[in-house]
Amino acid sequence: MHSDARPPLTLTLAAIGALLFLHLPILLIFLYAFTTEERTYQFPPPGLTTEWFAVAWNRADIWPPLYLSLRVAAVSTALALILGTLCAAAMAKARFFGRDQISLLIILPIALPGIITGMSLRSAYAIMDIPFSTFTIILGHATFCIVIVFNNAVARFRRLSGSIVEASMDLGANGFQTFRHVLLPNLGSALLAGGMLAFALSFDEVIVTTFTAGQQSTLPIWMLNELVRPRQRPVTNVVAIVVFVTTFIPILLAYYLTRGGSETAGGGK
């Protein structure tokens, strides 16, 4: 829609109000990381300090979950990149029997609540006696990351003109050369964007993970435990900032990589 009229004042205020509602709460996380009060969530903070960053750095129980989260996110993203791109290549232009069913299958892990994905995997591990390991976490994460890569890649495949592929073949390139020298450079930024979104999603995921991790602790699970049984509250804030920034930067980059097209990344989660 386009309009030449000015928006009504109430609408403007309501829109700004909703936007503030979406953004102000996060800022408090940053403020509370500097508070001197470690037993309550007293506002305003009685004093400000930067000591919690050093305390968090020296807490030995934070590092292993951080490494595990990074490892899981990296492997899941790599798997999702391969599977999502393959799927997008097949689904972008072709019409075939069962196509709708396959696209439903791709979307399902993210359309159904996380608890169903988690509980399903948990049931399957129980039935097949698979012990919990890093592998069981990755299995879940890669499954719901496929759709993110797929969405980004399929949009780019659709926008690519078929004639560049034909031109490449006319010039004597075989399918693999065409993929390497023509398709991949064109897909690059969409895959990078999809990969970063998938990484952010996996790094932050907690609901499915609690069902597939057993006794292991990823960074979000560590945070969840601190939320339920707080110890040094400002340290949790420092970790929250780390998690926030680690997911925020890839999302922003993904946006700038794909903006300007009809396929801007992040439209659907």
Partner: protein
Amino acid sequence: MMTTNRAILPERGLGDRLSALFWRKPNLLLVLLLAPPVLWLGVVYLGSLVALLIQSFYSIDEFSGVIVPEFTLATYAELLRPSNFDIIVRTVTMAAAVTLGAAVIGFPLAYFAARYARGKWKAVFYLGIMLPLWSSYLVKVYAWKLILAKEGIIGWAVEGLGGSAVLNSVLALPVIGGTSLSTSYIGTWLVFLYVWLPYMILPMQASLERVPVSMLEASSDLGATRWQTFRTVVFPLAMPGIIAGSIFTFSLTLGDYIIPQIIGSSRRFIGQAVYQLQGTAGNVPLAAAFAVVPIVIMVVYLTIARRKGAFDAL
């Protein structure tokens, strides 16, 4: 070597031979491309869903606590016990309340972004909605724990404005009240609303952007006031977007167990029941049966939504 000139270059190895094969049999390429992802999703995801269904038809031996792998409907019958059925009713009510709240608060923002935001502001609004959607779920929930705590910013602001009596009388309300905002349904509702709001706004905005300007002009040419145009033209056309958004807010609320665990009273939601039953209680069959409930509700919901044309707005 060759007596006649050939239009087709000679093959230069395996790559060429495979390319030629795929060219002659495009379906073969399709199958090869689709096989890995479909196998993965089919085995890992659908396989797990089947495992969930199978588990939900098992039962647990009440004395030994061992899972009895025999087909029974007894586990599903347990869902109808008052204490379990209350959990389902509570969760569905909360999901409906969250969906309604998200539609009311999100609509002005979606409408403004679709209709009045231009150029640079368009990008600001897009990022302003997308960043909260993607930013860390736990961090968002944690932020609200800080906000809603008794000694937190809301308590401080209310006291500063002299509204403690108002807050206390709200908290004294039956059912939705509690000892503080962070232990009441109001708090749970607010956090659900906050976390799922972007999921409602994006499809609403998409459907509002598709409303043709000519219709609005026609409406005002025919003498409709701004409010009449909104009520009879814009709103009905935005409805598929609202329904599409409600699919997300409803489904996500049904399946969440972290938010009511951190912010809220001790009364359980479906997600918490699933989590506790499979973990500490060790009753995987009942947990699985509980997890099937949101699936059934969402299938019904999606069937209705499909009839209303909500999928075009996704």
